[in-house]
């Protein structure tokens, strides 16, 4: 997996709550193999109906950070949502809350889902609206987001996710090192519930 350490990049605001993964990538695009790329379908239908959609404004071109609102990535477990964001160049997303499955899917793909308090996220979005093209610096090791106005926000991150992201760990490879423990568990479970 691609590692995530630090990132300094342009950020784009998205002022909508409950952005579900169907909106991030509509279901009809999921039948394609991942190798064909998902980036071009990011927010497909939302963008089509909105010429002023933030991601399409030149001021935000090349953005790698998305600053969203509550419950970003809720709904369907489709990992295609993360593939679409990554395919379009994004590496990190900031919101007051994320869909649990989406958040996990992000980590599995070397992307960072950062939770900050709602008021702070709203303030960052306001700054990005006021001065489009601003860059943020995210440092996973120190768990900080630095804003151009000099403010630094500290964020919490699950220690397992942090370790996997910093090292770009192949999770299956990691787990296979626990083979003995898995086998032992299976014997215990088979004795307890042999019908399973």
């Amino acid at each position: 997996m691609e590692a995530f350490t630090t990132l300094t990049a342009r950020a784009v605001p998205l002022d909508l709550v409950n952005v579900d993964t169907d909106r991030i990538i509509p279901a009809r695009f999921l039948r394609r193999p991942r190798s064909e790329g998902y980036g071009q379908f990011l927010f497909h239908d939302l963008r089509e109906g909105d010429a002023a959609f933030p991601l399409d404004r030149p001021e935000y071109a090349g953005a790698k950070v998305l600053v969203a609102a509550e419950n970003f990535g809720c709904g369907s477990s489709r990992e295609g949502a993360v593939w679409a964001l990554k395919g379009a160049g994004f590496r990190a997303w900031i919101a007051p809350s994320f869909g649990d499955i989406f958040s996990e899917n992000s980590a599995k793909n070397g992307a960072l889902a950062i939770v900050l308090p709602r008021d702070r996220v709203a303030a960052i979005r306001d700054q990005l609206h006021a001065s489009p093209g601003l860059e943020l610096t995210i440092d996973l090791l120190t768990q900080t987001v630095q804003l151009p106005d000099g403010n630094t926000d500290r964020f919490e991150v699950d220690p397992f996710r942090k370790e996997c992201l910093l090292a770009g760990i192949d999770e299956i490879g990691l787990t296979l090192r626990y083979e003995d423990a898995i086998r032992e568990y299976e014997q215990r479970r088979a004795a307890q519930a042999p019908w399973l």
């Binding site: 002022d15 909508l16 709550v17 409950n18 579900d20 169907d22 909106r23 509509p26 279901a27 009809r28 039948r31 193999p33 991942r34 239908d45 939302l46 609102a69 509550e70 419950n71 809720c74 709904g75 369907s76 477990s77 489709r78 990992e79 295609g80 993360v82 809350s97 994320f98 869909g99 649990d100 499955i101 996990e104 899917n105 599995k108 793909n109 709203a122 979005r125 699950d158 220690p159 397992f160 996710r161 942090k162 370790e163 996997c164 999770e171 299956i172 990691l174 787990t175 296979l176 626990y178 423990a181 898995i182 568990y185 299976e186 479970r189 307890q192 519930a193 042999p194 019908w195 399973l196």
Partner: protein, 473 residues
């Protein structure tokens, strides 16, 4: 002696394999369900040259891309490819498959419990967010992404952080015409689409206890729409009765051992939850959603709310956008809203009891808009046909199809056209969910059936039962 524990904590403790980096838990997975959308995971596993660790713990069936018509020869090459790819992947990895023509085929979340694959106290995962459904039997079940599906295939485990717990207590007697779907829509409206994020919900209370097994599945199915990856209901006599003599369930001496194990699972009386929410079932009314989030449910007697009352700017903008998308205005009555079509089906409401309720409403009446009835499994279809429900639907002018996810997500081509308003028993009213530009109103099978015969969102309590009486056959 253990301290008091919740059902969630008991199942969790039972599945801990090891503690890994950052203190995260490696959790064992007893049961893994796969479907025709799981091809991404099979592909990544194949590319990495990894084997499936325990094929016997996995069960596969086509549902998302399954056509609901013309199955003998699938005309659409893309759908055929998805169904055939699943067959090839299952054969290659020695995973048990219930193919399209099999009597056991159906939506993964319908066939899991139906076949006894889902059992109390097991951990069960699937690459689909509505895996929360299986929690109705007291299984710790949750949806996962493609990377995690590949991980479970390769290792039979998953790295998990323990969630918080939310106790949703629904007490009181459900009024006539109010069903499980109305309970869960009311719960989501109360706690919000992210009220359960980071939590596992345990549904409890007298109203939940009195629900049938299938109705409990409807409730747990939509835990994810409140943000909770898992919903749970403690197993009881209703659960045991439902599970007796299921093909993949325990039998003979194993049944007695299983029962002893299952009886130890319910939350201890003094177990602590991180949060609690309470709902009075006796005050509930039939519900329908107006917007594009499952949290947008209101009683059928209610009106479309005014986003101007929202204090948060992003929230206000989102609700305004939802009104534009849905073609509605604040203050408009929900009841009487003209609809263009009806969908009765999905992993939320496609089981035999759902179909019986819908059939009772349409019997002796006539659908005035196109309506699709899609049973959740081939077994549900056969059972419905044996009871004559298919005839009731057909005589009322509703279409009777083969089993699958169908118009809930439209991946098989069963779509709602742009601008069309659909009364749907499914779980998501997201923008574009049932088709680009489609407008979805979520409701119970009884309410959807009432909409089919009136062409409007109708309070099923006013419509009353079938003019021919309640007995079918």
């Amino acid at each position: 002696m253990f301290p008091s524990r919740t059902l969630y904590e008991k199942v969790w403790d039972d599945h801990v394999v090891a503690t890994g980096p950052g203190g995260r838990t490696l959790l064992y997975v007893d049961r893994h369900l796969l479907h025709d959308g799981s091809f991404h995971a099979f592909e990544s596993l194949k590319q990495a040259g990894r084997a499936v660790r325990r094929p016997g713990a996995a069960f596969a069936t086509p549902d998302h891309y399954a056509p609901t018509l013309g199955r003998d020869r699938i005309e659409n090459p893309e759908l055929r490819d998805k169904v055939e790819t699943l067959e090839a992947n299952a054969a290659r990895t020695h995973i048990r498959l219930f193919p399209l023509q099999d009597e056991r085929q159906g939506i993964v979340h319908v066939i899991g419990p139906e076949l006894g694959i889902t059992q109390p106290g097991v951990t069960l995962v699937c690459g689909d967010s509505h895996t929360s459904t299986h929690g109705a039997l007291g299984a710790l079940a949750f949806g996962i992404g493609a990377s995690e599906v590949a991980h479970v295939l390769a290792t039979q485990t998953i790295w998990q952080a323990r969630s918080k717990t939310l106790h949703v207590v629904v007490d009181g007697r459900l009024p006539e015409g109010v069903h499980a779907k109305d309970i869960i829509l009311a719960v989501i409206a109360k706690i919000g689409a992210f009220g359960g994020t980071g939590h596992t919900i345990e549904f409890a209370g007298s109203a939940i206890r009195s629900l049938t097994m299938e109705a409990r599945m409807t409730v747990c199915n939509m835990a994810i729409e409140a943000g909770a990856r898992s919903g749970l209901i403690a197993p009881d006599e209703t659960t045991y009765q439902y599970l007796s003599d299921r093909p993949f369930g325990p039998k003979g001496a194993d049944w007695d051992r299983a029962l002893a194990l299952w009886r130890s699972l319910p939350s201890d009386p003094d177990a602590r939850f991180d949060r609690e929410a309470r709902i009075d079932a006796s005050a509930l009314e039939p519900m329908a959603t107006w917007g594009t989030s499952p949290e947008d449910g209101v009683p059928v007697t209610g009106v479309v709310p005014d986003p101007a009352h929202e204090s948060d700017a992003a929230r206000r903008a989102s609700k305004e956008q939802a009104l534009r998308y849905m073609g509605l205005r604040p203050g408009q009555s929900i009841e009487g809203l003209p609809i263009d079509q009806v969908f009765i089906g999905s992993c939320t409401n496609s089981r035999i009891e759902d179909l019986r309720v819908a059939a009772r409403v349409v019997r002796g009446r006539r659908a005035v808009v196109p309506a699709l009835v899609v049973p959740g499994s081939t077994q549900v279809k056969r059972a419905a046909e044996a009871e004559g429900l298919d005839r009731v639907f057909r005589e009322a002018g509703l279409e009777w199809r083969d089993a699958g996810c169908s118009m809930c997500v439209g991946m098989n081509g069963d779509l709602v056209a742009a601008g069309r308003r659909c009364a749907s028993t499914s779980n998501r009213n997201f923008e574009g969910r049932q088709g680009k530009g489609a407008r979805t109103h979520l409701m119970s099978p009884a309410m959807a059936a009432a909409a089919a015969v009136t062409g409007r969102i109708t309070d099923v309590r006013k419509l009353g039962g079938s003019p021919l009486g309640d007995r079918i056959q």
